[in-house]
Amino acid sequence: MEQSQNQHHEAEIIPEAFSRTISDSLINKFFLEISSLTIFTLRFFKEVFKPPYEFSELIKQFFLIGYKSLPLVGITGFIIGLVLTIQSRPTLEKFGAVSWLPTMVAVSIIREIGPVITALIYAGKVGSGIGAELASMNVSEQIDAMQVSGTNPFKYLIVTRVVSTTLMLPVLVVFADAVGLFGSLVGVNLRGDVSGHLFFSQVFQNLEYNDLFPAFIKTFFFGFAVGLIGCYKGFNSNTGTEGVGKAANSAVVFSSLMVFLIDVVAVQITSLFQN
């Protein structure tokens, strides 16, 4: 009887201890990851200003990260502008405010949808690409080979990519916003007849400095987060082909999450200044 009670007691204790161990290890893992990412970020700031500078690789990354993303970002921007206009029209019609359609769509695109959607697309394309590329370089010992040959792989691979992602995303967002507005013009003209001149003059008459500037500034942070997390995941990936997939996947997940977190903070800061 006593033995049975003991067994029952043990059966209760074991799952509890097991779950406690798992939660402890998850917490440890989380904090280890945060500290490791912080060290990685600090190393970036240490290396970024230190010569020699890898200008040719930087230009190459501008091309690969910025120019090569233009078609995807452009198509997405156009569709967003078009769809947002078509979807918003019935609601505005109910309130007799169809004339506000260009302004409403423009403010939505420029303040929020343009930067966030472009950053998410960027995380999917550029962040995962960087994660997978660096992880596969890690697996095939190319990063070690660079170090052995007297090249600083952090400077050559990480600094150039993070600087490129930080500087290229704002450019892509401006492009996506412009194409999005053009998509909106097309959307307006699907059920009406509004000239381009009228559409854009209405848009720019109602746009304020507060709509443009904070939205533009936050894109630098989005770009930095996407590049840094992609590089961190790739550079510190596990060896083996499995590590490549994991690095690409976690680069997208974490950088997308970071985009939303930065957005929340940016919106709070912007609203503080506006009030």
């Binding site: 020699p52 095939s140 010992e141 190319q142 070690d144 080979a145 170090q147 052995v148 040959s149 007297g150 090249t151």
Partner: protein, 259 residues
């Protein structure tokens, strides 16, 4: 247990004459609870090919990665080209490492670059003031020395396993290293290509008078290239000597490598 081929006096004399290029004393390295290198003592002489044998997972690759600085050792002393690397500053450490070439097991070629660019990459960073003509002639010479002169504009993906090894070797040799570290140079190659790579290692030794540490499982490669062999067992140097000494060792475990 340790069958020393060279006497302590000769070693001391070599060191005095600057002929010892790498010296390890009581080197230890662990990964978590796994003690990979327990107590490694090793000397590499100028112009010598030293082959390191041992079962998989005995820390042979870790050993040479410690020399080149890809892995930090936990304890012990490592003297490279007369400098104790635990005592030198980072800048000097980089300069010392520039004198060491490393042929990776996987060749570790930059797969987004052509053969020419693979060689240019390291060269441009080490010889920043070199002219375009100088660069081109050094690349052609390095490729000619490894028999890859015609592959200059090819991508690494277009090269065979043997050609990749040759390119990896050319990429290291172009920087004129004083010490070459080969991590399983013949692994995954057919016997004929393995023989070619072994001959190339000997050619490198003659042409450049490099001192080399060759990690290998390939006994034929060891026989062809070794001036001296060290066998690692359980993280220590279990035996040392010439190929013939070790092949005729009284220890059955040592002999088993050569059968």
């Amino acid at each position: 247990m340790i069958a020393n081929a060279t006497s302590k006096t000769t070693e001391h004399d070599n060191k005095q004459n600057g002929l010892v290029v790498v010296e390890m004393e009581h080197l230890k390295k662990s990964f978590g609870n796994n003690r990979v290198l327990r107590d490694i003592n090793l000397v590499l002489h100028k112009g010598e090919n030293l082959v390191v044998l041992g079962k998989s997972g005995t820390g042979k690759s870790v050993l040479i990665k410690c020399i080149v600085g890809l892995v930090d050792f936990d304890e012990g002393e490592l003297v490279i080209l007369g400098r104790n690397i635990s005592e030198v500053e980072d800048k000097e450490l980089i300069e010392i490492r520039k004198k060491i070439g490393f042929l990776f097991q996987s060749s570790a070629l930059y797969d987004s670059m052509t053969v020419r660019e693979n060689l240019e990459f390291s060269l441009r960073r080490q010889l920043r003031s070199i002219s375009k003509e100088g660069l081109s002639s050094l690349i052609k010479e390095a490729l000619h020395n490894v028999g890859l002169a015609t592959a200059i504009e090819m991508m690494p993906s277009e090269l065979s396993g043997g050609m990749r090894k040759r390119l990896g070797l050319a990429r290291s040799l172009i920087l004129k290293p004083e010490i070459m570290l080969y991590d399983e140079p013949t692994t995954g190659l057919d016997p004929i290509t393995s023989k070619e790579i072994s001959n190339l290692i000997l050619d490198v030794q003659k042409m450049y008078n490099t001192s080399s540490i060759i990690i290998t499982h390939d006994i034929e490669c060891a026989r062809r290239t070794a001036n001296r062999i060290i066998v690692i067992k359980d993280g220590i140097c279990a035996a040392e000597g010439s190929y013939i000494d070790l092949a005729n060792s009284a220890d059955a475990w040592i002999r088993s490598f050569f059968e």
